[in-house]
């Protein structure tokens, strides 16, 4: 009784780095809960395999992703022909190899866009939630504005304009990452703001303020660690969304430009050839679906694992 009174009387952040043991223990618990979610574990495994496949792509296939098969005579080669496991696309390039190399583009693009997006969203949300008042309402107005503009059309317009302004006809990887990140930080911002609005009123934040900690220290050392859970979940789910967004963009011809293999651009020509080469339409899309499904299941598992209310 006396002990619990003392611990209650001295408020401290649940995730204070000073309490290393508790932190490690909690991490163990998170992993234990995540392991229980079988689909999440499957999703994580699929993603690890996919990452390995993307990294070791040149060693996993003896075809060049951009080379046209010598046997190609104008119509796509069917699965099994001349060593092409799942056939070739309409100009005789090996589909399996292009999907492997496409994974490099899709995964790195999505992860880098999400890292930038999370940094931006966290900054916006932290400032709005911590300071409140006029800063908060101003930043949330901006967030609302961006949320009201349909994302895909705006994304298409921006990529179109950036492509037209750069001397090259095509958009490069970095600009697509930046454009996607610039248009998708809003959900993270809202999330962080909501968390900070309640966290800043907590006793440990007050205690930190009382001993004279500066704003930056309170935000980074005391508030942010307590919001990491929901941010991680949102970031994971956003990786899936960005993969979908990039593939749609490339499919419509505004994203990754040929001859670079990206899952979306591989499908761009599939529609015209769908009756003669259904495989060229099936497999790249299947790769997108499986990857995003794996990401979403992993995000679901993380949500359960990081939720302190679920034991």
């Amino acid at each position: 009784m006396a002990q619990s009174f003392i611990t209650e009387a001295i408020p401290r952040p649940p995730h204070d780095l000073a309490h290393e043991d508790e932190f490690v223990q909690e991490r163990h618990q998170t992993w234990r809960k995540f392991k229980r979610h079988r689909l999440a574990l499957t999703g994580a495994t699929v993603l690890i395999l996919l990452t390995l496949g993307a990294v070791f792509a040149p060693w996993l296939s003896h075809f060049d992703p951009n080379a046209i098969d010598a046997h190609w005579t104008g119509s796509p080669l069917a699965p099994g022909q001349f060593g092409h496991w799942i056939g070739t696309d309409e100009i005789g390039r090996d589909l399996y190899t292009r999907i492997l190399f496409g994974a490099r583009i899709s995964l790195t693009l999505a992860v880098s866009a999400v890292i930038i997006e999370v940094l931006l969203g966290t900054f916006m949300g932290a400032v709005a939630g911590y300071y409140g008042g006029i800063v908060d309402s101003l930043l949330m107005r901006v967030t609302d504005t961006f949320l009201s503009i349909p994302l895909l059309p705006l994304l298409l317009v921006l990529t179109g304009i950036v492509a037209a302004n750069t001397s090259k006809a095509s958009l490069n990887f970095a600009s697509i990452v930046l454009i996607i990140a610039a248009l998708s930080w809003m959900f993270v911002a809202r999330l962080v703001r909501g968390a900070f609005l309640s966290l800043r009123e907590k006793e440990f934040a007050e205690a930190a303020r009382a001993i004279g900690s500066g704003d930056a220290r309170i935000v980074l050392r005391h508030l942010l660690p307590n919001a990491v859970g929901p941010i991680t979940v949102q970031a994971t789910l956003d990786v899936g969304n960005v993969i979908l967004l990039e593939s749609a963009l490339s499919y419509l011809g505004f994203g990754i430009q040929p001859p670079t293999a990206s899952w979306g651009s591989m499908l761009a020509n599939a529609q015209e050839n769908i009756s003669i080469a259904p495989w060229a339409a099936i497999y790249p899309g299947l790769a997108i679906l499986i990857t995003v499904l794996a990401v979403n299941y992993m995000g679901d598992g993380l949500r359960d694992a990081l939720d302190p209310n679920i034991q």
Partner: protein, 327 residues
């Protein structure tokens, strides 16, 4: 209520203005701006461009151009569509009904089936149908829309489904493009043309909403007023629909309004794949042709519709939940 509606309408105005400023600024970075289509024309010299710039007032400061655009947009002058050689407003409004037809049909399908799936899953948790709904939902928001459309096209339009069951042969072959057949155009024909695009566009929302409906209905099922209703001896279906559904619908209304921006994106893809003569396809062409006025008109109109529906959702919330007081 009336006061609240008016206040919300007034609050929407700065939002719309902010949206239009952002869009105007972005489009301003288009090389050549509204004159972009003329830049590539070899018959138009640099001197011509300068003259056109002056005539259209494009040599004025950007903020003056913005106010001039705003004044005209409000009074119904949406600029000139360079690719159609018609007023942009005419070009957009001509395509609006097709998009609205597609979107509203998809919304109705998604809401009806989403509610049915969600309610069944909530009433029978951890049953086979519940697992089906959950799995379906995950596929729904992991699905690349354009690929789903391609697969539907491949299965139901290119190859056609031929089923033999119970001694009957079913041939299922839907049209893969357009709103009507060239010779047709009656109600059944239009309905047949709607099947695949609507299936594509409603898939994502159907999946998401059935999951939300399940969560929301489950919460309501465990409330005390539901137990009271059951204790009064009311039949289960009466309790479920009269007491349960109305309360469970509240969060779903918000979700519906929030998913509208994504619906515009989905419509662009769906219309492109199924050659649906709507605004989304017009937008893609306008983008390729750098039709400034048309792009601006489309973006402002779609954002405006999003703002409007968010407002309607808030009002509907008040109607569904009498605890919410507007004053």
């Amino acid at each position: 209520m009336l006061n609240y509606t008016i206040r919300r309408l007034i609050q929407a105005i700065p939002l719309l203005i902010l949206i239009s400023i952002i869009l105007f600024t972005i489009l301003h970075f288009m090389p050549g701006g509204p004159l972009a289509p003329y830049m590539q024309n070899p018959h138009i010299t640099a001197a011509d461009i300068e003259r056109l710039k002056h005539n259209f007032g494009l040599d004025r400061p950007v903020y003056i151009q913005y106010f001039s655009w705003l004044g005209k947009y409000i009074t119904g002058d949406w600029g000139w569509s360079t690719m159609n050689s018609t007023p942009a407003k005419e070009a957009i409004l001509e395509r609006l009904p097709a998009t609205l037809e597609l979107m509203s049909a998809s919304l109705v399908v998604a809401i009806v089936f989403g509610l049915i799936f969600g309610i069944i899953a909530a009433v029978k948790p951890y049953s086979l149908i519940d697992y089906f709904v959950t799995t379906f939902a995950f596929f729904g928001f992991s699905m690349p829309v354009f690929w789903f459309a391609l697969m539907l096209q491949m299965l139901f339009a290119v190859q056609g489904i031929h089923l033999q069951a119970f001694g009957y042969a079913f041939d299922f072959n839907t049209p893969s493009a357009g709103m009507t057949s060239t010779e047709g155009g009656d109600f059944v024909d239009r309905l047949r043309h709607l099947i695949l695009p609507v299936a594509t566009l409603s898939f994502l929302n159907l999946a998401t909403w059935s999951r939300f409906m399940r969560a929301s209905m489950q919460e309501v099922l465990h409330t005390e007023y539901m137990r009271t209703a059951a204790a009064k001896g009311l039949p289960f279906l009466t309790i479920l629909f009269k007491h349960g559904l109305k309360n469970a619908l509240m969060p779903v209304v918000t979700i519906t309004a929030l998913s509208l921006p994504a619906l515009f994106g989905g419509a662009i893809i769906t219309e492109t794949i199924f050659a649906w003569p709507g605004m989304g396809r017009l937008f893609i062409t306008a983008l390729q042709q750098q039709d400034f006025s048309l792009l601006m008109a489309y973006l402002v109109l779609s954002a405006g519709l999003v703002v409007l529906f968010n407002l309607l959702a808030d009002l509907a919330y008040g109607w569904l939940d009498p605890r919410v007081k507007y004053d």
